[in-house]
């Protein structure tokens, strides 16, 4: 009973934190872009503008709900929900921290579900998020939205392959799909790289790390791969016709996906919640370490967005199929060779 309560509490806390984090990310996006562009950014609502996401939310709620004529009404409404739900659900298996406490001999771990197929879950559920984009693009009955949806599909297929191959390399090394075990393996003293570096997979799989990080950009439709939106060509891409809270849901979905992908990068390659050289680190220190790493990758998302121009569509495809896929294949081949030896 108590365990169930604890689980419910974890669900509430983690989902709440995730959604708040998505809100804060929107503020961070605006502040970071302002700093990069020699501006100051929103600083009027609350101290340093921290209440800006709240104000935005209120504004979104009061905007007109609009369904364009000729749109497939149900799919049109379903799409943003799907997009946000997929991103929220995939966070369930991320191990944010170690052991919180033990109740009646049952360890309470800082993750909603400690699945044995955690990595697969993230890829599978996270991949569902693309349905929101595609459905939204198609159901809008607008050429720009449709183009956005189509591009998102093509991009997702191209980059999901490379991304999964990169995860596969880590899984092959760790011999498990359980994300917590992957973290624990990176944390163990005998996995130290060259005997002194922390045993993080980034040192064993640098190529996979680079490919994975770039693929997460493509997966989350972020710059420089944001072909689903593509303001300069497609007005707003898949969400051209969306307004009000439906639009906000797409936004939440996008930022949650970014957070989940950052968590994945940290878990797979940067030792997750582990602290280098301190295996017995308390729960809170581990959680802080995890959040710090995630924050860096979130910042990288923003930083890249406001630095790089968007790819051309053919360049995107070339990069995906002619560069990333071969490199990922070579990488997994070498990994397999190394593991089997």
């Amino acid at each position: 009973m108590t365990v169930l309560l604890a689980t419910i509490l974890k669900v509430v806390v983690i989902f709440g934190a995730l959604i708040s984090a998505a809100g804060i990310s929107t503020l961070a996006e605006r502040r970071v872009s302002a700093w990069i562009q020699h501006r100051i950014g929103p600083n009027r609502v609350g101290p340093f503008g921290v209440l800006q996401p709240l104000a935005d939310g209120i504004k979104f709620i009061f905007k007109e709900e609009f369904v364009p004529e000729g749109a497939n009404r149900w799919l049109f409404i379903l799409a943003p929900a799907l997009s946000a739900a997929a991103a929220l659900m995939s966070v369930a298996v991320i191990p944010f921290g170690g052991l919180i406490t033990e109740i009646d001999g049952t360890p309470i771990l800082m993750s909603i579900a400690d699945l044995d197929i955690g990595a697969l879950w993230v890829v599978a559920i996270g991949g569902l998020g693309i349905y929101g984009v595609i459905l939204g693009g198609w159901a809008s009955n607008s050429k720009y939205s449709l183009f956005g949806g189509l591009r998102a599909t093509a991009q997702m297929i191209s980059y999901e392959l490379s991304m999964i191959l990169c995860i596969l390399a880590v899984v092959a090394m760790s011999d498990t799909l359980n994300l917590r075990e992957i973290v624990n393996l990176q944390d163990s003293a005998d996995s130290r790289c060259f005997g002194f570096l922390p045993g993080w997979n980034i040192f064993y799989q640098p190529l996979a790390f680079v490919l994975f990080v770039i693929c997460t950009f493509a997966e989350t439709n972020r710059h420089p791969f944001d072909f689903a939106e593509c303001e300069s060509e497609l007005v707003g891409g898949f969400h051209t016709e969306y307004s009000s809270m439906k639009f906000a849901l797409f936004f939440i979905g996008e930022y949650c996906a970014m957070i989940v992908m950052s968590c994945m990068t940290v878990t797979l390659f940067l030792g997750g919640f582990s602290v280098p050289y301190w295996s017995e680190a308390p729960f809170l220190i581990g959680l802080a370490s995890f959040l710090l790493k995630v924050t860096f990758f979130m910042f990288l998302f923003l930083w890249v967005r406001w630095s790089l121009p968007r790819f051309r569509y053919d360049q995107l495809m070339n990069l995906g199929w002619k560069v990333f896929l071969p490199l990922a294949l070579v990488n997994i081949l070498l990994t397999g060779l190394a593991v089997s030896l």
Binding site: V32, A34, W35, H38, R39, I40, N43, V210, S307, L308
Partner: protein, 172 residues
């Protein structure tokens, strides 16, 4: 016809990632520089004597208005923003404005009135802020336009400097 040859990229450039990192380094550097924007209401605008703000009427030290309501600014105004009605006064200067209205909804802050004025009586002040809730409120009368000469001293000196330059060049 000009044939533009595309620049051959080096191997490092083709690899893309080093260039990406170079770009990221630039934007990161920008993040720590001082923003060039200004927090307007708290951080007021910097004005100099060259600033061409809203026109204002100069009031002498003895609190008499300089304007003689000659109507030259009225006729010079390209936006028809100025309306003047004169009246007689007992001062040495026989004429003064009874009504002097500038419609700031029309005014384009061009400064022609200042240029036309033979008495240095209308001057472009450094006042730039202009807001009201009604159209009528933006038609400024004498009460809102009068400014003591001390407030406009710098502008008057500047305009005199400009005019001196013009005078010498035309007399040669």
């Amino acid at each position: 016809m000009v044939i533009i040859k595309r620049k051959q990229l080096t191997w490092m450039e083709k690899a893309y990632l080093p260039e990406v990192i170079r770009g990221l380094r630039i934007t990161l550097g920008k993040m720590f520089q001082k923003p060039s924007t200004r927090q307007y209401p708290e951080d007021p605008l910097i004005t100099t004597e060259v600033t061409r703000g809203q026109p204002r009427l100069v009031v002498n030290e003895d609190s008499t208005i300089r304007c003689v309501s000659c109507g030259l600014c009225e006729i010079a105004c390209p936006a028809y923003a100025i309306t003047i009605d004169g009246q007689e006064t007992d001062r040495m200067i026989e004429r003064e404005p009874e009504k002097f209205e500038i419609d700031f909804l029309r005014c384009i802050l061009c400064g022609f009135c200042e240029e036309a004025c033979p008495k240095e009586a209308i001057m472009m002040s450094d006042e730039l802020e202009l807001a009201d809730t009604s159209r009528q409120g933006l038609i400024y009368g004498l009460d809102k336009l009068k400014r003591p000469v001390s407030a406009l001293k710098k502008r008057i000196a500047y305009i005199n400097k400009i005019n001196d330059r013009w005078r010498t060049s035309s007399s040669t």
